[in-house]
């Protein structure tokens, strides 16, 4: 089979579409994008030679519609389809339809997808091929000794439909909800249960199957996960003895060979560092999100390799013996999500997205440096219809330490405004001793509570001061009256000006004096001065504003620290978010409104939608008695199901929503009126 691709359609969106287009451009292949309505303005659409609209927004209406994608290929004259990852990438029916339409499918044979698509079947197949696997457990016969166990969706991926169960009572609930989520996300409700390995590492092996055999392209560690979704990945996996690594590669080769796999794929293993044993998890029959780290250390373009296999050409001019890795690469995934609020996906306008000193975008690094694969740019709108990943940032250096340092510096200096991201958490990870010593496991993010860490108290105090001054000066610049009057000026001083923010749900109050207010004999009287015991004598050396940005240089203890304060105001033009950037990193502060209309206050016991989404199921009726922790309803957002539970014992009062209803973040879902024990009749 040999067919040269001339025009390739990417049945995907965002950064992965851009990634594939980049290789296509280098190879001279024309490109076609498909896009939903919400994505029409994103960079990947503009980058493609041709673009075809898929009407609607939800994945089911757009990127999951095989018929529309094939029609788009026909209308745009594409002769090949690359599925990217997610969406239709592991849909054998789609792959088959692509081939039936006479197009080139840049992916494995549909049969391979099917074989690996069912995790239950794949495990059986792998066990037969001699690949180490975990035992299967029957939910009905699971006993306390088997705990903890993991419930997984057979068709799942990315943590969807996955539940860790630590007590027997919650097992059936977990199985049910995993089934629901899997059915909703993948159209297949099959789930299975296996022992859960505590402190396991996620280690995976990149393979490319060719007619001449399986090429093993090294390994990666992807242990740093939140809610079973990878956040930080690196290649090679650190701390493996050569024998273990060789065995791992051998198992991966056997896995791919067992199904005569063609194209790029990843064999994922659960690695128990304590015993140095590994177990087959699954094989992803597609390009992985984290492929850039492998590209860096092996000097290979995996998309090019995929295209080569699809075109029937040799991948590389060498045999299938192990390939030497060069240096170390680390990738972080920037998500529009709030780690402090249980990783709630965030939406809105990404006012600024700039990463300094990037060497390469969307392609393999040819020399140690920094690579950015971003699906969004400054000014783009981040919606809630799809995965919340904004970009991947990859650093490649001779050693792991150097790669981490480089990545940390770039993340710190990145300018990301308008939408809350996990950037600060990523920085915390990159500075964490356990990460630095490669003491990794999939529970690290949850165990170490990296969501709550921020800069040291003094840095935070100075940043909040800079934000308060920035806000005051930006507001003053918009004023039409008394424009030249120093902010917060008083001729009779009763108290300092106070500005109140919230930072990660915590209230931060900044007390400060504007220029020429108070302190007659203070040498810094003409500057903004902070009133704070922790940072006594801190004052603003210089402040300037431009558009929605203020540059505030704060001096404390003889050291000058420049801060950039970026303002993102809400529709009222008063309340909003301030992103403060300093040499140590970033801090996001939200204003606290000075006044609340009593009519807007929410009744006690109200359950608010934690994020925009759809109500999947309502478990209670108005008037029903509920106990604390009882599920009230299930909300699906970002393809994840969230159970909203009763906060206390009580009676369901208001229940304004029903199944299938779309709700906005903060909308009242139900009101549980607490029953007070003392009011109950004896």
């Amino acid at each position: 089979m040999s067919s040269t691709i001339h025009r390739l359609l990417v049945a995907n969106r965002g950064e992965i579409a851009s990634r594939v287009f980049a290789t296509c451009r280098r190879l001279g292949i024309e490109t076609v994008a498909v896009h939903s309505d919400a994505d029409a303005g994103l960079p990947f659409v503009a980058e493609a030679d041709l673009a075809v609209r898929l009407p609607g927004n939800s994945p089911a209406e757009t990127y999951l519609r095989a018929d529309l994608v094939l029609d788009a290929a026909r209308r745009s004259g594409a002769d090949a389809i690359h599925p990217g990852y997610g969406f239709l990438s592991e849909n054998a029916g789609f792959a088959r339809a692509v081939l039936d339409a006479g197009l080139t499918w840049v992916g494995p044979a549909p049969a391979s997808i099917e074989q690996m698509g069912s995790k239950i079947a794949a495990k059986r197949l792998m066990a037969e091929a001699g690949v180490p696997c975990l035992d299967d457990l029957d939910p009905a016969t699971v006993t306390a000794e088997d705990l903890p166990v993991l419930v997984k969706a057979s068709a799942g991926g990315g943590g969807r439909g996955m539940r860790i169960v630590r007590d027997l009572e919650s097992l059936s609930t977990a199985v049910d909800s995993a089934r629901d989520e899997a059915a909703s996300a993948f159209g297949d409700g099959a789930v299975f249960v296996e022992p859960y390995v505590e402190r396991g590492r996620h280690v995976e092996v990149q393979v490319v199957g060719t007619p001449d055999g399986v090429l093993v392209l090294g390994d990666r560690d992807c242990s740093l996960q939140r809610r079973h979704q990878k956040v930080v990945e690196e290649a090679p996996a650190p701390g493996l003895r050569d024998e273990v690594r060789a065995a791992l590669h051998g198992a991966a080769r056997a896995a791919a060979a067992a199904i005569d796999y063609r194209g790029a794929g990843t064999v994922e293993f659960l690695y128990d560092a304590a015993t140095e044993r590994f177990y087959f998890l699954e094989m992803n029959t597609r390009l992985q999100v984290e492929h850039p780290v492998t590209e860096a250390v092996l000097g290979i373009d995996l998309v090019e390799a995929q295209i080569a296999v699809a075109e029937g050409r040799p991948v590389v001019e060498r045999d299938s013996s192990p390939v030497e890795t060069n240096g170390h690469a680390v990738e972080v995934r920037l998500y529009a999500e709030d780690p402090g609020l249980d990783y709630q996906p965030q939406s809105g306008r990404l006012d600024t997205f700039e990463v300094p000193d990037v060497d390469v975008r969307f392609g393999p690094l040819t020399a140690p440096g920094l690579r950015l694969d971003a699906g969004f740019g400054s000014g783009d709108e981040v919606g809630t219809h799809y995965d919340a990943m904004l970009a991947k940032l990859i650093s490649w250096a001779p050693t792991r330490e150097q790669a981490i340092r480089r990545l940390r510096g770039a993340l710190r200096r990145a300018r990301i405004h308008g939408v809350v991201t996990n950037r600060d958490q990523l920085l915390a990870v990159l500075e964490h001793p356990r990460f630095l010593t490669a003491d990794l496991d999939t529970g690290l993010l949850a165990d170490e509570d990296l969501a709550g860490t921020g800069p040291p108290a003094r840095d935070r105090t100075l940043a909040a001061f800079a934000a308060a001054v920035g806000r005051a000066e930006l507001t003053a610049a918009r004023r039409t009256t008394q424009r030249g009057i120093p902010v917060g000026w008083r001729n009779v001083v009763a108290a300092p000006t106070t500005t109140t923010f919230t930072c990660r749900g915590e209230e931060v109050r900044v007390a400060w004096y504007g220029p020429t207010t108070a302190g007659r004999d203070d040498p810094h009287r003409t500057h903004h001065r902070l009133v704070d015991e922790q940072a006594e004598g801190a004052y603003v050396v210089a402040v300037s504003t431009s558009g929605s940005e203020a540059r505030v240089v704060v001096e404390h203890d003889g050291v000058r620290v420049p801060h950039t304060v970026h303002e993102s105001l809400g529709p009222d033009g008063d309340t909003g978010r301030y992103d403060v950037e300093a040499p140590w990193g970033h801090l996001a502060l939200e204003t606290v409104p000075r006044f609340t209309d009593p009519a807007d206050q929410v009744a006690a016991g109200s359950l608010l939608a934690p994020m925009p989404g759809t109500v999947v199921r309502v478990a209670v009726e108005a008037g029903q008695q509920v106990r604390a922790g009882d599920p009230v309803l299930v909300l699906e957002a970002m393809k994840m199901q969230h159970t909203v539970s009763a906060p206390a014992d009580g009676v369901v009062g208001l229940l304004p929503v029903g199944a299938g209803q779309q709700v906005a973040a903060g909308e009242v879902l139900a009101v549980v009126e607490p029953t007070h024990p003392e009011k109950e009749p004896a």
Partner: protein
Amino acid sequence: MSNREAMLTKLAELDAEHATAVAGGGERSVARHRARGKLLPRERIELLVDEGSAFLELSPLAGWGSDFTVGASVVTGIGVVEGVPCLITAHDPTVKGGASNPWTVKKIFRANQIAEENDLPIISLVESGGADLPTQKEIFIPGGRLFRDLTRASARKQPTIALVFGNSTAGGAYVPGMSDYTVMVKEQAKVFLGGPPLVKMATGEEADDESLGGAEMHARTSGLADYLAVDEHDAIRIGRRIVARLNRSSRAAGAPAYAEPDADPEGLLDLIPSDLKEPFDPREVIARICDGVSPTNRVAFDEFKPLYGSSLVTGWARLHGHPIGVLANAQGVLFSEEAQKATQFIQLANQSDTPLLFLHNTTGYMVGREYEQGGIIKHGSQMINAVSNSKVPHLTVIMGASYGAGNYGMNGRAYDPRFLFTWPSAKSAVMGPAQLAGVLSIVARAAAEAKGQPFDEEGDAQMRAFIEASVEEQSLPFFLSGMLYDDGVIDPRDTRTVLGICLSVIAQTQVEGTDRFGVFRM
């Protein structure tokens, strides 16, 4: 002691006096007020004005030197609410329950005058137990003007808003009654003509506070309250929304771009001599308070008639982009030339509708045979005529000396400048204390001689010392400010900011000069 040290000492004294005003009724009284969950008057104002905006407090030293607490149990000032400059008054309920004494009344009159002249909305933050009864004779009759002022303001379409936080009874009930908008705080506001004891005495009726004048009652039954606020924050929130809907935000006129002064205002502390006998060059002051050179202001100060009448500096400048004409004393004494120069300059400002700034450092009009014969009275009268009848807004800053008719000619308090502020270095009286004592001594000596009595030298020395000391005390800024003879004592370095606020307030109304003056005696 250097000039700077001397000025800083005076400023420290000023801060101490301001702190007394801020402390209100004292720690215990403040604690009791707070314990009721209530805010202090300045805290209410802080919430009312736009975040980060300035608040220019007026007459903070009212009542200084009297038996009443400094500040006169009320806070008045100019703040920006929802982008609209407003005149704000707030009773201080920690001082004798916010009761009005004679100085309170004078301070509110002055605030209302400022609101009237500059067309500012008036926001009253009400919580007052009414008149301080022992002083009723000084309050009752003139105090009626308070309510007259409110309704006349309304008649001029100058909005009036009352936010009632507590007691507003008897005469005080007419403040919400006379206001365009009234907000009352639930379970706090109490507005009635007569309370339960008075009603019992007058009619025998038994009634409680709430049914006579509670916020709920006024909001639901009498209709005196337009809005019922759940708490103090809510009342202020509603007050801000009322101002936002006054359709006044469009009046804010942006001044053109400007540069900060060419010289550092900090230098004013070094410039002003601690001994007022030492003259200083007012151009140095102008360079520190007026706009510096910029593309829209190519020369910072265009001096007018620089070679004539050189002990009065006149010229054109800008302050925060607002054009102004400046008259500043240079050598203390005003001669005929200076008086004539001032007269012409005031007329010119009226021709070009330009506000005027008077910077005082004058010992008065020159006396002596030569000058009387040269017509100093005629010329001084011309200047006072021009000042009195000029229709452009006037601003006055008393930097140093302000003696005799010089105070009048330079637009002293009696000549109704829109705003008048004093530096801590100022002194103002009919003449210098030593001169005054000396004059009295000469007169006494002459009287003794005429009667052929021996002159009591020792008694004279005592009398001179006493007169000198008391006149000295009465010519100092705190005393004069306590008498409401200015709108506040300010740090010289804040002069630009204070005048900037005043000019932005003045810009709310049209500046229109006159061509009608009294008869100029030629």
